[in-house]
């Protein structure tokens, strides 16, 4: 039996400003991708509301962006837990990735 197929809903979006001292650096990138991977939805990230979008579950691709402090990160997710995924990622950025400021960067 076929499940009723609905046209896929518009992706959930959100954004947050990078305010931690070192930007989207090694440790924040790993935290961000680990969090993204905990959701089943496809999650993308960009430094521009218009894209290009990159896979938020790929640390290699995220590190390629080399986003410094002061960059706005845009998120876009599609899937069952898309709302939760975007909310969690925005919160992580707003919490400055739980980094201790003044800490050695890495």
């Amino acid at each position: 039996m076929n499940a009723p197929h609905m046209s896929s809903p518009a992706p959930v979006t959100g954004s947050a400003l990078l305010t931690n001292a070192v930007g989207l650096h090694a440790r924040p990138s790993v935290k961000l991708t680990q969090l993204a991977k905990s959701f089943s939805s496809a999650v993308s990230v960009s430094t521009d509301a218009a894209g290009p979008w990159i896979d938020a579950k790929s640390p290699v691709k995220i590190m390629r962006v080399k986003a410094p402090k002061g960059t706005t990160l845009y998120f876009e997710a599609s899937g069952d837990d898309a709302h939760e995924a975007v909310a969690a990622l925005v919160a992580l950025v707003e919490r400055r990735f739980d980094e201790v400021e003044g800490d050695d960067h890495g």
């Binding site: 691709k61 080399k66 050695d104 960067h105 890495g106």
Partner: protein, 536 residues
């Protein structure tokens, strides 16, 4: 072998003495199977093996080391890293070549980054590349360095650092590298002295080398007197470290109550990463050359503006004294300084070069003018010899200020001062139209004594305690007192506990030293009394 002094950028403080072990990068000797399928399988297996070896290291590591290795694991687990390599293999390229090319391309994007934090990550990518290559070639030889050795290399992979036994001492000397690299963080955590940016490290296989990490100095085949001085510094260092730590957060004052300003010397934003601005009265010297020396190209206005602004924000309205580009002399910059001068220290360096290369200088001036509204900025110009040089710089600041303002940018005119490091300038100090003076005691000493500090055989002549040098310092300090203009001193002498009393006696009331020396400078000041000195 004659004594040879090397100077670089401090990455981790501490002293070491020992034999040099030179690490040479090895070429892979793997023979390709010629079969794309087998090559792909080999690479997959090598990545898998590398992952398990790094994970093993990560499990045994703690703190920063564990996090750094965690980053390597996350990168290696991501298929995106090897994507380009597998595409090349499908085209018939051998596995090791494909992997090396793919990673080198990735590493290049890190090296070309404007931000030093990202540039420093290239060492982690190199580490990943080499670990996989080692597994591919099947000759995963154990990397062995005798305990206590002083490692000399171009750069050092974090995983290699972790495989060395540092319990017997040792040190790291890198011809390239960065103080923000993971290996530098690891070195600081383990208290392994480390110097980066030493340039070409000469062959000195069987020689003894002494290392002072805090000063960024190493001496190959030291003479007896150099070594004795080093050892006494090391002993004093250990005794003083304990006392100095207690003084770091206190304002500096002499025993009889004269307040003295103690500022810090830095080479970049990253030097501030673990520093509390409350330990100092501001930044007395920012060496901007390092901003110019590390990237693949000269830094643009935006990069400089961001760096200067971050320093000003860090200082929380304490003065930040940024020196305009002081290239030349012992600080060549490719594409900027003049090669082959017969005597670079007496040639086109400092402001002399900036006034010849206005294209580069104007960019720096604009970045400074734009950063100025974000704190208390003072700009000082190096190697000023005659008043017209400073006047020319002031005119350039005026022109750029008007142009930026006309374009609606938020700019502010900073205080414009001069370095006093040429004896002619010190003797004629009242002729200069400067807002403040900063004595560069290293160059003032070598120009006064006609003895290069980098030449071991004459280094002992280049002594700031020479009465002629102290007289020049006194002339500038007196001019400051009569004119009401600030005078500070920012050479190595400013952090030298033995020299500080002499500086106070000739009228210096503000010194600037390496951040690691702030505590001991304050301690030396607190032990000094003008009554007992019988002067000033």
């Amino acid at each position: 072998m004659a004594e040879l002094r090397l100077a670089g950028r401090p990455a981790s403080p501490g002293f070491a003495e020992g034999a040099v072990v030179r690490l040479v990068e090895q070429k892979s000797t793997r023979v390709s199977s010629g079969d794309p399928q087998r090559e792909a399988d080999d690479l997959k297996q090598a990545i898998k093996n590398a992952l398990s070896s790094i994970s093993d290291l990560a499990d045994r590591a703690e703190g920063e080391a564990a996090e750094m290795l965690g980053f390597q694991v996350a990168m290696l687990e991501d298929d995106a890293l090897a994507e380009a390599a597998f595409e090349s293999i499908a085209q018939g390229v051998a596995a090791d070549h494909a992997w090396r090319e793919a990673l080198d391309a990735e590493i290049e994007t890190y090296r070309a980054a404007d931000d030093e934090y990202f540039r420093a990550r290239s060492a982690d990518l190199e580490d990943i590349r080499d670990t996989v290559l080692d597994h591919l070639s099947g000759s995963h030889v154990a990397f062995s360095v005798p305990p206590g050795a002083i490692i000399a290399a171009r750069d050092l992979a974090p995983s290699r650092f972790l495989s060395v036994d540092w319990s017997k001492g040792g040190a790291i000397l890198l011809s390239e590298g960065s103080p923000t690299s993971h290996v530098a963080m690891l070195a600081r955590a383990r208290r392994v002295p480390m110097i980066v940016g030493l340039g070409e490290i000469p062959e000195c296989a069987s020689s003894i080398i002494i290392v002072d990490g805090a000063l960024g100095q190493a001496v190959v085949s030291p003479r007896d007197d150099t070594r004795a001085e080093f050892l006494s510094r090391q002993t004093a260092d250990e005794e003083m470290a304990i006392k100095a730590a207690a003084h770091e957060h206190q304002p500096a004052a002499t025993k009889d109550g004269m307040a003295i300003s103690v500022m810090i010397n830095i080479a970049g934003v990253e030097d501030l990463a673990r520093l509390d601005p409350k330990i100092c009265d501001g930044i007395g010297l920012v060496r901007t050359e390092f901003l110019f020396g590390e990237g693949p190209h000269l830094p643009n206005e935006e990069t400089q503006y961001r760096a200067y602004r971050r320093m000003l924000e860090w200082a929380e309205m304490r003065p930040v004294t940024i020196r305009t580009l002081d290239a030349g002399g012992d600080k060549p910059i490719a594409g900027l300084t003049i090669d082959g001068e017969s005597n670079p220290f007496l040639g086109v360096r400092g402001v002399r070069l900036s006034l010849q290369r206005l294209d580069v200088f104007r960019i720096q001036i604009r970045a400074l003018l734009r950063a100025a509204p974000h704190g208390y900025l003072k700009v000082m110009v190096p190697m000023i010899t005659v008043p017209s040089e400073l006047d020319a710089v002031r005119a350039l600041f005026g022109e750029e200020y008007e142009a930026l303002k006309a374009n609606g940018l938020n700019v502010k005119m900073p205080l414009l001062g001069m370095m006093v490091e040429v004896p002619a300038a010190a003797l004629a100090i009242s002729e200069f139209n400067a807002d403040f003076f900063s004595i560069g005691s290293n160059d003032l000493t070598q120009y006064t004594t006609a003895a290069g500090r980098d030449i071991g055989a004459v280094a002992s002549l280049a002594d700031v305690r020479h009465s002629a040098v102290l007289k020049l310092i006194e002339i500038v300090a007196k001019h400051g007192q009569t004119s009401g203009l600030d005078v500070s001193l920012c050479g190595d002498a400013g952090g030298d506990a033995d020299v500080i009393p002499l500086l106070l006696k000739v009228g210096i009331r503000s010194v600037s030293a390496a951040p690691s020396l702030v505590g001991r400078a304050k301690l030396a000041i607190s032990n000094f009394s003008f009554d007992k000195a019988g002067g000033a």
